[in-house]
């Protein structure tokens, strides 16, 4: 799939995450910028949850900004998927 626009999904409410998807610079691969209150203990899990979804979309260079408000995995993945869909459609 191809990113055609910058798109967002999610909110800044408690237990949600705001995902912003942008086209990355060529050959930068996947860049995740994570801001989370659980970064120390769950940062790596959140990163890998975002990664799995991006892999499913088979997109090369993408910049993802995640402002997390304590979201669980099901939310992180859902918001990433929707943001990517909105960016690609």
């Amino acid at each position: 799939m191809k990113i055609v626009r910058t798109a967002q999904a999610g909110t800044l409410e408690s237990q949600d995450v705001l995902i912003t998807v942008q086209k990355g610079k060529p050959n930068t691969g996947l860049v995740i910028e994570l801001d989370s209150p659980s970064a120390v203990q769950y940062g790596s899990k959140i990163q890998s949850e975002i990664e799995t979804i991006v892999m499913e979309f088979k997109i090369e260079d993408v910049h993802i900004k995640a402002i997390d408000k304590g979201a669980l995995g099901f939310t992180i993945k859902a918001r990433t998927e929707v943001a990517l869909k909105r960016a690609c459609e």
């Binding site: 408690s14 209150p37 970064a39 120390v40 203990q41 304590g70 979201a71």
Partner: protein
């Protein structure tokens, strides 16, 4: 560094910064010292005046020098202006290397970070919330932070572990001869209970007030015979809006309501909810709801309790005024209603920190508590509680009365949602032990209730068919499943920045410097 393991399995260094540490050995296991400390003898002859006009004059008269220990109370909470004001003066006068030992440090004291960086404050002994805790976690304090409970602090001051050279008391009302009260004046805050040990055991006591009244003032809570100088200034020592909230609202959050209802169920099932019942809870959302729901049950069952203990709130005052409790014993007030009640109602009784919670005394009020409902940042499968360090390892809260009430009360309940954001509250091992698990009886969460199998109430509660229990490990598993597994370990540096004392002065745990993100 040489270590010994304490009874709850934490490695405690034998010595830090030249300070010898005694490991925690269990409740009542540590031998008690022989005598309390004595304060310096002062003399006031007839005709001598105590009234001063400026902070500078007060600091000069106090004889404050490099390396001394000074204290303050936290009854003004988020509205305190005194501590920052005094340190500004101290900095101007070039005094350095002080040990700061107030009853608590709040986010409003963020300006102190500068004085920590400049070496004006080099050691801190108290519970810390906000930016100061953050600075300590980042290694900015040259010496150590000693974290004590309210009762532990009273003990340390009286035993001489924490000798106060100069104590500054922010007094909502004072007369010129040094009688102080907390219930009148613009900065009314309720009791001045946390400063009672300091008033009695500090070498020099200075009261600072905006509200000077003719001698003798009414409602005296700290007496003239302990107070050396009274400073009357115009500059406000506290912001009333930050000192008290209005009437504290009961939560509408259905999760917190559920937890509170379950706490009341547990208290009822324990058999303690009968005539003469006594109870303490705090000012948090769940605590307030528990107080209200307990009131409902006491009304329905026509039970009159003996006393409710404060941190007092309007919710507790309502129960007193309805006659559901005979007395309130109160060491601090959280809202205006509580202050009004303390002032007007002779059944609302002010107590000092030692009377409240000092283990080295002839009887602390916590010892006659039936039940207490407390919070936690983390609880582990051994029921050890952490209320001090956050999920990123930084020091962000004090212990308050947690250790004291949980140890003193017959039934101590921790009431918490199972997750805070994505962080599990029930874990294999808490980051820092601040209350030992042996003092915790029940954990009530939104996902279930767990009993400590070592609790004396275990069998009685387990028998009750009205409540379904889970084991603490089941709760941990639910939490881990929700968040996607156990938390990654928090990276720390080697340097020890804080010592967590048990209320008896032994060491429960140490906190190391946090690694920057």
């Amino acid at each position: 560094m040489e270590y010994v393991e304490n009874i709850i399995g934490r490695k405690i260094p034998k010595e830090v910064n030249g300070r010898k540490l005694r490991p925690f050995r269990g409740i009542g296991m540590e031998p008690i010292p022989d005598r309390k400390t004595a304060t310096k003898i002062r003399r006031r002859l007839p005709g001598e005046k105590k009234l001063l006009k400026s902070i500078e004059e007060a600091i000069i008269k106090s004889g404050l020098k490099d390396g001394m220990t000074i204290s303050f109370h936290h009854h003004f909470r988020g509205g305190d202006k005194l501590m920052n004001m005094i340190f500004k003066q101290i900095a101007e006068m070039g005094i350095k290397n002080l040990t700061l030992a107030p009853s608590s440090i709040h986010p409003v004291h963020a300006p102190l970070v500068k004085y920590i960086e400049e070496g004006i404050i080099t050691n801190i002994q108290c519970g810390v919330t906000g930016p100061v805790g953050d600075a300590i976690s980042r290694g900015k304090l040259k010496g150590l932070l000693i974290v004590r409970s309210h009762g532990g602090r009273a003990r340390a001051v009286e035993d001489g572990d924490c000798r106060i050279d100069v104590c500054f008391i922010g007094a909502p009302t004072a007369d010129e001869f040094g009688n102080l009260n907390g219930v009148e004046g613009k900065q009314a805050c309720g009791p001045l209970g946390y400063m009672v040990p300091d008033a009695q055991y500090a070498d020099m006591v200075i009261a600072v007030t905006n509200n000077l009244v003719p001698f003798p003032c009414s409602n005296i809570s700290i007496n003239q015979n302990h107070v050396d100088y009274v400073v009357h200034i115009k500059n406000p020592i506290g912001d009333p809006a930050g000192i008290v909230s209005g009437t504290t609202r009961i939560t509408r959050d259905p999760i917190r309501i559920k937890i509170a209802r379950n706490c009341v169920k547990v208290i009822e099932a324990s058999g303690l909810l009968k005539k003469g019942f006594s109870f303490q809870s705090g000012a948090g959302g769940i605590s307030l709801a528990v107080t209200q729901f307990l009131g409902e049950r006491m009304r329905e069952k026509e039970i009159q309790g003996s006393f409710g203990m404060g941190g007092s709130t309007s919710a507790l005052v309502q129960l007193l005024e309805e006659g559901l409790f005979k007395r309130i014993l109160d060491v601090q007030a959280f809202d205006r209603e509580a202050i009004r009640s303390l002032k007007d109602n002779s059944s609302h009784i002010e107590i000092g920190a030692s009377q409240y919670a000092n283990i080295h005394s002839s009887g602390a009020a916590v010892n006659v508590l039936d039940t207490v409902v407390l919070g936690a940042t983390e609880v582990d499968i051994d029921f050890n509680v952490n209320v001090v360090t956050e999920s990123d390892g930084r020091i962000l809260h004090g212990i308050g009365g947690h250790q004291d009430t949980s140890e003193g009360a017959k039934l101590s309940i921790i009431a918490i949602p199972l997750l805070r954001g994505r962080n599990p509250v029930i874990v294999d091992r808490v980051t820092t032990v601040t209350t030992p698990g042996m003092n915790i009886n029940v954990i009530v969460t939104d996902y279930g209730i767990a009993l400590n199998p070592k609790s004396p109430y275990y069998r009685r509660l387990k028998r009750k068919k009205t409540i379904q229990y889970k084991t603490i490990k089941e709760l941990r598993d639910i939490a881990y499943k929700l968040v996607g597994g156990p938390p990654d370990p928090i990276p720390f540096k080697d340097r020890i920045v804080a010592i967590i004392e048990h209320r008896d002065g032994t060491v429960l745990d140490v906190v190391r410097q946090a690694k920057d993100k």
